[in-house]
Amino acid sequence: MSKAGWIRLVVLAAFFGAVEALCRTGVISPKLVIAPTAMVEAMVKLLGSGELNPDIRQTLSSVGIAMGLSVTGGFALGCVLYWLPPLRRTVDPFLAAYYSLPHFAFYPLLIVIFGLGALPLIVLATLFAMVAMIMATLSGLDRIPRVLIKTARMQRLSLPAEIWHIRLPAAAPHLFSGLKLAVTYSFIGVIAGEFILSTSGLGHQIAYAYDNFDNRTMYGLILLVLCIATAFNLLVFAYERRLARQRGQ
């Protein structure tokens, strides 16, 4: 591990050690925060009891579907906009201003349209995540060096071959940034949506524990969500590293 990595580890360990000590000695009230070890204990117990399995399943499947839709849909829409410049010029201001909108304010509307359940959450998370993928696709396609396109013509490639063998690999690093954002935004969209108005799912369970002053369950669940999101990110990160190594970077 690098020196910076060691320092990071020491700082994190010191932080959690301090919180642990302050909680155990009663300086921090358990009504506010419970000790980190108690959080881990609560999480393990929740997982072991199996009572949250339906919620975990629901949240993860919603996140998975939103990720799939936003990545494939965002990529497809990005390609369409790239090949239709007039359309792109028309929607460009909307795309640029998109993330200044409070998307979650529309959630009640989505419930009216799609009813209670997983569907409005998936729609919300997809709407939230897809535009990041659209923009990454556009910037990836925009930044393909012209000389590579000329090379494709020199090699007399057909358009499909040019797209598959030159344009896509050349745009891959940008597409990957879009994928990373879409993964994160899908998580945020689903869990935050469940928080606001839902009858099941991890977000709902956290909100429910909060409303009932059940700090153990609440912190256990927060930790669980953190672990799942971190695992996903590590997976994406490892894959990105592999891609970068393949390019000798």
């Binding site: 060096p145 000389v147 590579l148 000329k150 090379t151 013509r153 020199m154 090699q155 007399r156 490639l157 071959a161 063998h165 030159i166 690999p169 050349a170 891959a172 393949q246 390019r247 000798g248 970077q249």
Partner: protein, 268 residues
């Protein structure tokens, strides 16, 4: 000797765009490329050298006139048998040196044993044997340009077009790459067109040198160097070498000043 390529009254005019008038970049220009010759093109900056190459390669269609390669008209597509090496780095960063070089043959569906044979030859010829499994990001600019030349070479082009391929390289590397280019030309018997802004380089490498005017680019003269086919960078030591370079410069001096003026006008 037979003509490999023929340009007849070729012009290239870029149509007006928002805020810009139409630009007459090239021609009218006519010339024949003899089979197996090394033809250099020099000219002031912005005179349409790269446009000439694009038109000759079929990467862009002429606004007027016709281009022929091996007797067949070239109309906006690159004909089989023409290879181009560009000034910018065109290596594929996602492929190893070996896969970069094999790229075109794989797309053509060439027999794997034949791909292997040709890639081995091209990689060895360009001195890339120790870097077969390296990625372009691990190579210097000169090495990457060799990868691009090797990638063109495996397709066994009969006409090789080089657009300032050494433009981004340092002087020593340029001289060595020039020698390699001469060797490649001798051993493949391909016809080579080299666009360059370096007069010494054009002089050393070429059998004939087309000297272009300021925009719209036309040949104001075609200089025959008369160098032996078997030559390398030591040619520069010959007493008559400097005379050819001087001749090129005297032809170009006024045109270059004219081009500078055009540049100043465009900047206003």
């Amino acid at each position: 000797m037979n003509a490999v390529a023929r340009l007849s009254n070729v012009s290239r005019i870029y149509p007006p765009r928002a805020g810009h008038a139409a630009v007459h970049a090239l021609g009218p220009l006519s010339f024949e490329l003899k089979a197996g010759e090394f033809f250099g093109v020099v000219g002031p900056s912005g005179c349409g050298k790269s446009t000439l190459l694009d038109v000759l390669a079929g990467l862009s269609a002429p606004s007027e006139g016709t281009v022929e390669f091996e007797g067949k008209p070239v109309a906006g597509t690159v004909p089989d048998g023409v290879g181009v090496v560009f000034q910018e780095d065109a290596s594929f960063p996602w492929l190893t040196v070996e896969d970069n070089v094999a790229f075109g043959l794989r797309r053509l569906g060439t027999d794997p044993a034949e791909i292997r044979r040709r890639v081995d030859f091209a990689v060895g010829f360009m001195g890339l044997n120790d870097f077969r499994r390296a990625y372009p990001s691990q190579l210097s600019g000169g090495m990457r340009q060799r990868v691009c030349i090797a990638r063109t070479l495996v397709l066994q082009p009969r006409l090789i077009l080089l657009d300032e391929p050494f433009g981004a390289l340092d002087q020593q590397t340029r001289l060595l790459m020039g020698d390699e280019l001469l060797r490649l030309w001798r051993e493949t018997s391909a016809t080579v067109v080299l666009i360059t802004h370096a007069l010494d380089e054009a002089n050393l490498l070429s059998d004939r040198i087309g000297v272009m005017s300021a925009r719209p680019g036309r040949f104001i003269d075609v200089v025959e160097t008369g160098w032996p086919r078997d030559r390398d960078s030591r040619l520069a030591e010959r007493p008559d070498f400097g005379a050819v370079t001087s001749r090129l410069w005297s032809l170009l001096r006024t045109e270059s000043m004219l081009a500078l003026g055009q540049g100043a006008q465009a900047a206003e």
